[in-house]
Structure formats: structure tokens, C-alpha cells
Amino acid sequence: MTEATPRSGPSRRRFLGVALGAAGVAAAGGAGFGVARATEPSATEPTAPAPSDQVPFYGEHQAGIATPAQDRLAFAAFDITTTDVHAVQTVLGSWAAAAARMTAGEAIGPTETAPQAPPADTGEAFGLGPAQLTITVGFGPSFFDDRLGLARKRPAALADLPTFPGDALDPDRSHGDLCVQACANDPQVAFHVIRNFARIGRGTVAMRWSQLGFGRTSSTSTSQETPRNLMGFKDGTNNLKAEDTAELNQFVWVGNETDQPWMKGGSYLVARRVRMLIESWDADHLADQETIFGRRKDTGAPLTGRSEFDVVDLSAQAPDGSLVIETDAHIRLAAPSSHGGQRILRRGYSYTDGTDPQTGQLDAGLFFIAFQKDPRAQFVPIQRMLGQHDLLNEYIKHVGSALFAVPPGLSEAGDWFGKSLFG
């Protein structure tokens, strides 16, 4: 794509005296800076197969849940600042349109605009490609208060999270009416989403808090290795995987059991900002670190096995009759067998936000994200037990918390986030 077709009629920009060459250089994927739109294939025309770094945006479920976890995260919670339902709908519709473009590696609007108008797209992702970007949008419990008159649309499963033992929540890093999770293999591609969504929403929604995650801590596909968290451990080896369709249906996707048909095919997102007390952890001796997790630090193997994926034998005893994996070890308390077989899909990211201005200690940890069918039966009992007993609690602090109902995927252009919720 090098030459723009001759423009029909007088060009708006030529009229305005701005010289913009008819030729543009396109990057692979057609998202090049300054490419004349006239030469690009339309979004509705059949196009070449999606490049391998593109995750389909439309589908039964929103992408970014069962999608193999990308390397980077940009997450934001927004509050509604209006009581005008139509304005909120328009933002959700504009977000959907922009999301379809960005996940395809395209600018959100025309790159050819009048010189007197601010550009439609902020531009920092031009030429970076889709980078496996996924954009996942959800609705918080407060979205269903009396401001928009949607109380009767609130799912029972979207019950406010209880206070858990050890919670030290900062309201400025918690809750929100809406959430946007942008995951990509390029941090600037992920950031671009949050920035443009905030811009699109200005005057209707305002960002309440946001979080960047610099490295994935979960594997959500059998093709991915389990990454290490900032404590240096492989945690989440037995996570649900995208390939386990039956288990996803059982534990992640909302089915016919929901009291709100608009949520069918959706999921519930729990986000927790878990600060790690890094300096204390780094001073703990290896044997204690391994006892706390119940895994070997080097191989990631359970203390009852030799390699990472060996079955965790929670009843194994040492020669002296004590349990090899301690009663309150993280691996035991987080195991499905400790929760009646319940499981969650973990999709968290490591974060750092510099240093704590008071103590000079690192402000770093895990931005925990989990998806599930019903938090009341899954995250809540699991966290209640962990918060009470987990040996890890000495080295972590839950400082942020949020819950969102993530509606099902968008069917096609013209559908938008939560459309059936307003219907």
C-alpha cells in the first residue's frame, strides 16, 4: 500500500492548506501512520487471515479471560459522572467501536482529520500492531445503584465483596462503576486503550484508579510456562486453562443459572491489589519461604514432588509424622480440594508503583485478577480462608479490591458492551 487513489472532490485538508502527501507508508497490519484511509480495505470486507498477533474481538465471550495471558496489563476503573443513561450508552458504544479497531491494530478513527481538530486517535500505538491486545469491560456493583435506574438489572452474584480478614483497603484504589482490562504484549498498546477510553468518556465517566502490570503471573494456556511472581515463586501452576472447555463452563462462564439473562456467557472479575512486603520477604530464609508456599523455589515442584506439574500430595507425611505441606501453606489453602472442588481462573500481573513515600520501601506486588461464574461460591470462600490462615499473610497486604460483572462477548459491529443490559 503505497499510493492513495486520487481523491474525489476537493480535499478538506488541501483546502485548509495543509500539505499531506498522497502517499503513506503502511506498517504491516495496515495501521501505519498517515495512511490514507481511502486505500484501506473496509472493516466489513473479507480481509486476509488475522495476523498471529491479533486476538479476535467479537465472539461468544469477551476476550482477555480465556485468552492466553499476555505479558502486559493496563487496568482502569471508571466512575459514572452523569445520570444521563444515553450518554453512558454512547460511551459504551464508542468504547466497543474503538476496541474493535485497537484490537486489530488500527487507529480508533480517521488519521486524516481537519488540522483545526484534535486527532481522533492519540497516536502512540500507530505502527505497533495488535500485540495480541484484548479489551475486557465490566460493570461494578455501584453501576446498579439509583443513578441510572438499573437496580433491577443487578445480578445476585454481583454482591458486594465482604471485608476479609487482614484487608487494608484504600478506597482510592478500590471499587468503581466500570472496569477496563487491557492486556497486550506491548505496554504502550495496552496504555493506549486506557488513555483513549478515558478521553472518549470525558464528561460521562472519569477514571477512579488505574493500575499497570508489567509481567504476567499466570499461565492460562497449556502452551504457556508458569511465570514467577515477585516473591520468586511459581504460583498458580494448577490454574484453569483456556483449553479446558468443560472446566471453563463449570467454573468461569455464567450459564443458565443466572438471574440476569444479560450475563449469560459472561463472567465475574475480582481484582485485588496485593502489596508484597518485599524487604521482609527478602530477609526470610529459603526453607521458610518454601514452607509458606508449599513449593520448591527453584523448580516450582510441590514439596511432595520432583517437578512443577507433579500432583500435590496434601496428605503426605514426613518421617516424624508431620505434614510435608503445612496446614496453612499457601498451596494447600488455595487448592480446590480445600474449597469443595471450587476453582477460579487467575490472570494477575506483577506491578510496581515506585517507592512508598513514607518508608522508602518498594511499592510492588501482585495485581490479582480472577474470573469466575459466581464470586459468592468461589473467590469469597477461598479468600476468606486465605485471609484467615495463609502463612503468606505475614508478607502481603491487600490494599485494593474491586468486583465487576463482565458481560458476554460482542456479536458484531453494532453490538456494544452491556447492550442487552439496557434492553
Binding site: S8, G9, A38, G93, S94, R101, Q116, G203, A413, G414
Partner: protein
Amino acid sequence: MSLRRSRLMSTLSLGAAAAVLAGCSSGASTSDERPTSSPAGDPHTATVTITSNKCVADRASYEAGGITFKVSNKDATGITEFELLDGERILGEKENLPPGFAGSFSLNLNPGRYEMYCPGATTPRVPFTVTGTATSVPVTDTKALLNQGTASYGAYIEAQIWFLVTNVQPLVAAVKSGDLAAAKAAYAKARPYYERIEPVAESFQDLDPAIDARADDGLAPTKLTGFHRIEYGLWSVGSGAGLAPVADKLASDVGKLQKLATGLHYQPAELANGAVGLLDEVSKSKVTGEEERYSHIDLLDFQANVEGSEQAFANLEPGLAKIDSTLTDTISTRFAALDSLLDKYRDKTQPSGFVLYTALSRADVTALARSVQAVAEPLSRVASKVVNV
């Protein structure tokens, strides 16, 4: 003006004039193309569908008079806007139309050839033909309305500068008399007149720094000239010592400004850009408490910037409303919300009429900043709408 279509007009013959296929992909339309399908639908209602390829109207031509555009976006993710153009002039438009959304607007149109413009489409411009006889309803003269607005804005600027010059005099006198309280009161009284017209002053390169430079512009406070040198002396040093020559220079500088700004003519886009510039000023230095760092009367400047911005917009509004009444409504509503938020901080016991910046909580500042951004975003789109009128 009524935009209701006339029944009489709709009975006029359609075939009388040449029609251009709405689906024709070439902007260089020829006059003798004939529609391939018989015209259907109301000749005074243009039902327009936005697709990724182009905007498609439901008829080949429409009848002169009131025409309502009902625009819906089917599936074009990269297009959120529809405009009707006469040459490069935007006659009417609808924004915020992502896929799955629809909107409408009405125009009075004379017979002629126009264009539907969907920025971002493969074929962004598609001919739009109006036939019949010239409408008896006067066609909207947006240009005249905007010209009235720019003239009235010029008068506003001159009036504000006159007040500025007039209110700097008592400040000079108070500084020279050594009456600190009187000088502080006079300072607060003079400030808003400058803050309302700042974008105009900024067009004269050396004058704005001479009148309004701050310590963060790279100068030690004692090296400053203008308002903030006086502010530093009165509030931070607590003395008028050495301020007399500064005050005299300020009086002379605002006098220069008055000469330069008298009789100026402004373009509609300049008003729009100036209005945005004033809100940028608020976001950059008022909402952060940097502008009046010694006196903390930032909210007074804040309100004056907003008022200046609102005045510029108000002068564009009658003309702009003919082009996009949804946009003007959005901006007006958000300005009103910002004004009432600011009103919450009025305090008659303060010389500035507002609580001091230091009394604001973090939540107050966040709410004010958000409210400013809520206006600035739609306002930033105005210049492009009025630049070619």
C-alpha cells in the same frame, strides 16, 4: 426558525431535476446520471446509513426546504460522525454515532449539490443532491451569526481590558502608599480582568510574560515583573518595599495591551481555540494552585478563565448551534455544571470572593479538574466546525 418540512413542497415533482445516485462512488458527479431505482421515502427526510465504505442515503435526491437527516451507523467502527457539506462549509452534523447508534438533525436547504461527509470511510464524501425551487424559509446564515459573535467578542475583550487598566490604577496607588491591606484587595480586584482575556494578551509575545510571568517560568520571584512580583511582595515578603516601579511598569504594560487589542477582528476558530486555551490554563496552573502561590486566590483566576472561555463560546453558540445543536447543548450543559461547582466555593469573607486554594481537599481539586476536562474535550472540536464558514 421552524425546521418542519412543508407539505406543499413535498408535492413538487421530483423528476424535474437531475439526480445523482446516492451510492455513486465518485465525488466528481455528473449531472445526467439517473437513479437506477425509483425514488422511495420522504423527499424531506434523508435516512442515512453509515457503513465502512461510505454514507448511503435512501434517495437519489431530496426536495428543497426543510430536510431532516436521520443518521444511523450500521457497522463502521472507525466512523462516529456525519457532516453535510456545502463545499468545505459544514452545514450540519451529528457526532457520537458509533455502530448501533442513531441521531438526527434538520437543515433548510436550497436546491444544489452538497456532499455527505463521513470522515474515516473508504469513500469519505458522497454527493447529496437537493432539487426543486428555492425554499421560502430563509436558509440559515451561519456565517452572519458567527460574524456577529466575533464582533461581540471583540467588544467584550475591549471592555475587559478597559476594566483591567482602570483597576490597575488603585493597585499602583495602594502599593505606593504602603497600605498592604488595600494593595491586596486591589490586586484581587484587578486579576480577573486579565485572566478572562489571557489568550488575546498571549498573542503579543512579550506582554504576557511582562504582565503575568510566575516563578516557575524560570525566574526568581524578585526578578519577576508584573502581577506576580507584586503578589510575592504583598503576601510572601509582607511589604510593598521596592514594588512601586513594578506597579508603574504593570500599569504601562496593560496600557500597551489596550492599544494593541483595540479594534482587533477575530475569526470564529480563534474564539474556539482561545476558549480551549483558557481551560488549558485552568488545568495547568489554577487547579494545581501554582498561579497564585503566595496569595492562594487561585479560584478567582480559575473562575475568570472559565468565564472568559464561556464568553468566547457563547459568542459562537448561535452560529454553531445551526451546525450542531447537540454539541452546543453538551458544551453549555457542562459549562453550567462547572459554574455551579465553582459557586460552591464562593466565600464573601475573602477578598477574592472564593475560598483559598489551601482550603480545598484533594477530592475538591479532583472534582474541579474533571469538570474542566468535561468541557474542554467537546470544546476542542469546535474550531474545526467553524473554520470554513
